[in-house]
């Protein structure tokens, strides 16, 4: 029986205590003379031929279904082998859980075993759940060890539990008491071990997320890890400002990472509230600052790559928070700016040939550049970049019709003068102080302009959808009746181009019509 033979050989390898780094399926047969025939086993890499997987699985399942006749030791090996080829088998996992909690399985070694399983099967929810159980057991056993050692000392440090979880704890005892020192040494040792372990867990999540984008369970696991850090604020900020920024830049379509950033922001707010209970206003300012930084971060990504649904979804989250915290400034209408984007919307709604649209885009760019610049300024974008673009656009325009050219040139000159004026004004205002719905609409128009003609579906279906969401959100919060008309035009435009979701837009138009009717009554 092939299955039995493979099983026995695997049993041999596991019992020998040799370290297994990786398990996989091989497609070439192993030489009959090799030591572990028919298995491949070299330098910790264990391989089973693909034709042997099913027989091995069948044999292991049979054996497992007769487990009442087996000893604990035999079941330990059996489940270890069975889970290699059938990692979703919860009853087998449960058996190992039992042995984990009764001490027959060492948590650290079990985590290593899970590494092998997850490397091959990173999307199995039950493995991640089990891994978290092992981790908690590992921490629990570690704490007990330290507590036992510390308890032997008469001067017992009551903060043991908290410090054991504190990744940032410094050795705080300046006391000359030997016992306290010993306690602290033990605590620090424990902290170091826990730190190292948590670091490893975070890196496993990162690795998984890198290779298998949108891994739901890996990200959920990552969120759960924070439960074991009792003073995590500085680490949370590092995650937000460094680690997760690097990751997002490499994986723009990964909404799971952006959802994680939403968690970080919410968690940082919770932690801040815990810390400084008195200065509430300062707290709120700090949090708002973070959200503005987030807005700028996502804007920076979008100006380069406006076609990713994920970034626009995330933007909704950030914008909602800012709008709700800065109600007075955000919903306040700026007539001048509003005129600008309303005009653009009208032009877009009327049917334009592609050629005309390109021309229109260039004009709009010039007009809106100074306002748009406010976003770019915050990243210290070089002015020369914008100036260069404006120059090339001007030179392109001279190739066109002379009559309209002359008119346009004078217009442009006037505009550039105005722009310079605005530029100077705006240079002194930070985004936080002037950010409003109108400016956000300008931002959308600017970002989506270049991509209006090409790659339409991508741009329209996410950026366009976002615009509609934005107008609706503001209308619902400020009772601006004018916005109903604008909302309708935007949706009609989307309905025309986003045919995949034509029924969605059709129904949204119906809703507006119905709400109008209700208001009339």
């Amino acid at each position: 029986m092939e299955g039995e033979r493979i099983y026995t050989k695997l049993q041999q390898i596991f019992n020998s205590g040799q370290k297994i780094k990786e398990f996989g399926v091989i497609f070439e047969h192993v030489s009959v003379n090799s030591e572990y025939y028919p298995l491949f086993f070299e330098e910790g890499n264990l391989g089973v031929h693909y034709q042997n997987i099913l027989p091995l699985l069948q044999f292991s399942l049979c054996l497992f279904n007769q487990r009442s006749t087996l000893s604990e030791k035999e079941i330990l090996i059996l489940t270890k082998i069975l889970l290699l080829v059938n990692p979703g088998f919860v009853t087998a996992l449960n058996k190992r859980r039992t042995y984990l909690y009764n001490g027959s399985i060492n948590p650290e070694k079990e985590l290593d075993y899970l590494d092998i399983l997850l490397a091959r099967h990173p999307k199995i929810q039950e493995l991640w759940i089990y891994r978290f159980d092992i981790l908690e057991e590992y921490f629990k056993q570690n704490k007990n060890q330290i507590n036992n050692i510390n308890n032997k000392n008469p001067n017992n440090n009551n903060n043991n539990k908290k410090e054991n979880n504190n990744v940032n704890s410094n050795s705080n005892s300046s006391s000359s008491n030997n016992n306290k020192e010993e306690n602290n040494n033990n605590n620090n040792k424990n902290n170091k071990e826990i730190n190292e372990r948590l670091e490893k867990e975070f890196s496993i999540c990162s690795k998984c997320a890198d290779i298998y984008p949108r891994n739901y369970y890996a990200w959920t696991y990552r969120i759960k890890l924070w439960k074991h850090l009792s003073d995590p604020l500085s680490l949370l900020l590092e995650e937000l400002n460094v680690t997760m920024k690097q990751f997002v830049k490499k994986h723009l379509s990964d909404y799971s990472a952006l959802n994680y950033r939403q968690f970080l922001l919410k968690e940082i707010e919770t932690q801040l509230k815990k810390k400084k209970k008195k200065k509430k206003k300062k707290q709120q300012d700090e949090i708002l600052d973070l959200y503005f930084q987030e807005l700028l971060f996502i804007s920076h990504l979008q100006t380069n790559y406006p076609g990713f649904e994920s970034t626009w979804q995330h933007r909704k989250f950030v914008l909602k928070f800012i709008a709700n915290r800065q109600k007075k400034t955000f919903f306040k209408m700026d007539l001048e700016i509003r005129k600008e984007w309303e005009m653009i919307l009208e032009d877009q709604v009327s049917d334009l040939e592609n050629e005309n649209l390109l021309k229109l885009n260039q004009q709009i760019r010039l007009r809106l550049a100074p306002i748009y610049k406010i976003f770019l300024d915050e990243f210290n974008f070089e002015e020369s970049e914008n100036e260069q673009n404006e120059q090339t656009e001007n030179s392109e325009q001279t190739e066109n019709n002379e009559q309209t050219e002359n008119n346009e040139q004078t217009k442009n000159n006037e505009q550039t003068k105005n722009n310079e004026k605005n530029l100077q004004l705006l240079n002194h205002i930070s985004l936080k102080n002037c950010f409003s719905f109108d400016i956000e609409m300008i931002y959308c128009q600017m970002v989506l302009l270049d991509y209006e003609v090409s790659n339409f579906h991508q741009q329209r279906s996410c950026g366009g959808s976002y615009k509609i969401w934005l107008i609706e959100f503001v209308r619902n919060n400020s009772y601006d009746l004018n916005l109903n008309t604008i909302l309708q035009s935007s949706i009609k435009l989307m309905k025309k181009y986003d045919t995949t979701h034509k029924n969605l837009w059709k129904n949204k138009l119906k809703l507006i019509e119905n709400s109008k009717k209700i208001k009339k009554k």
């Binding site: 039995e4 997987i53 099913l54 699985l57 069948q58 044999f59 399942l61 049979c62 054996l63 279904n65 007769q66 009442s68 006749t69 080829v85 059938n86 979703g88 088998f89 919860v90 009853t91 449960n94 859980r97 039950e126 759940i129 159980d133 949108r214 739901y216 990200w219 959920t220 969120i223 379509s253 990964d254 909404y255 799971s256 959802n259 939403q262 968690f263 919410k266 990713f308 649904e309 994920s310 979804q313 909704k316 989250f317 909602k320 579906h457 279906s461 959808s465 969401w469 995949t500 979701h501 034509k502 029924n503 969605l504 129904n507 949204k508 809703l511």
Partner: protein, 375 residues
Amino acid sequence: MTERLLIEKHRDYIRSQGTKLHDFWYATSEHMRMSGIYWGVTALSIMGCRIDDLKVIPQQLPIQKEQEKKNQEKNEEKKDQENEEQEEKEENTKKNKKEKEKKKLKIASEPIGVVDFVFKCQHTNGGFSGNINHDPHLLYTLSAVQLLIMYDSFDLLDKDKTAQYIAKLQNEDGSFSGDKWGEIDTRFVYCALNCLSLLGKLDVVDVDKAAEFILKCKNFDEGFGAVPFAESHAGQVFTSLGALALANKLDQIDKDKLGWWLAERQVKCGGFNGRSGKLPCVCYSWWVLSSLAMIDRINWIDKEAITNWIYECQNEENGSIGSRPKETYDVYHTYFGVAGISLLGHEKLEPIDPVYALPNKDLIKIGITPFNYKK
């Protein structure tokens, strides 16, 4: 006009699945056999095919050497007679556990009827496991109850016992664990409330608290994740909405907002994905459409496009439906594809309820009114 849904082929495919011991998928899905059977049976039922004569070999055959097998078979016939007499004596005394186990194994190696299989998976605590001698779990308890209803064997069940098993799995915050080991997920709240509602025993748990927990898993986009802070996912939206529907709390949802998120699951090719930016999969045909049905916005999507796409995912040669055109054909995707089309309304398919995930006719049998929505 030729019928594009290949009912007869899917029927033949599903009916052949019950005994495929040497099929890789069959072996790796052994631990969820109960759900696998539920998917197959429900699909057959919706397609108007008979289910009463279905037989399955639920597990791998026990280990027996070929030579011994033949001798054993002869001896076993004699032993059977002796054993029957002995058992009658031992009925009121402690039963030999190993003997019971051996007998179970013997039966497991032969095809058995579905109801027979379901009861063999029942545990003394009232829960059901995914297969014989596996650990009980909420997921399989629900599938078990659903199967018993479809097989008109609901009255054979000790409803109180099963209700008690479920009640014990509720946690203080209203959430439910899948089993005694404690994993929490909105899916399990759905399983618990669905099962208890079918049993007519919702009063043994705190339904309001359960709804509270579900709402904690709601995100800013009105979607739901598996646990608080988790990403919105169409599968979790289905289970969360189902739970809220059973708890009578659908009014807590902004239906326009959620409808928008769900409608945007439809991608260019017509199929649905489960999260923004991901590839479509046939299983979302069920989860997205049933969610839209529960919030009465099923006409917010392009029905023709999704139906055509599901048809494209069919295996025209051997029957069954895959996750995507020409990919991963199995019973799971066959069920979800057929169920999705049924939700949209198809003249040859029986209607299926979006909340209970049972054919309407079976709900009516046990006195439950199917969910009303515009198709």
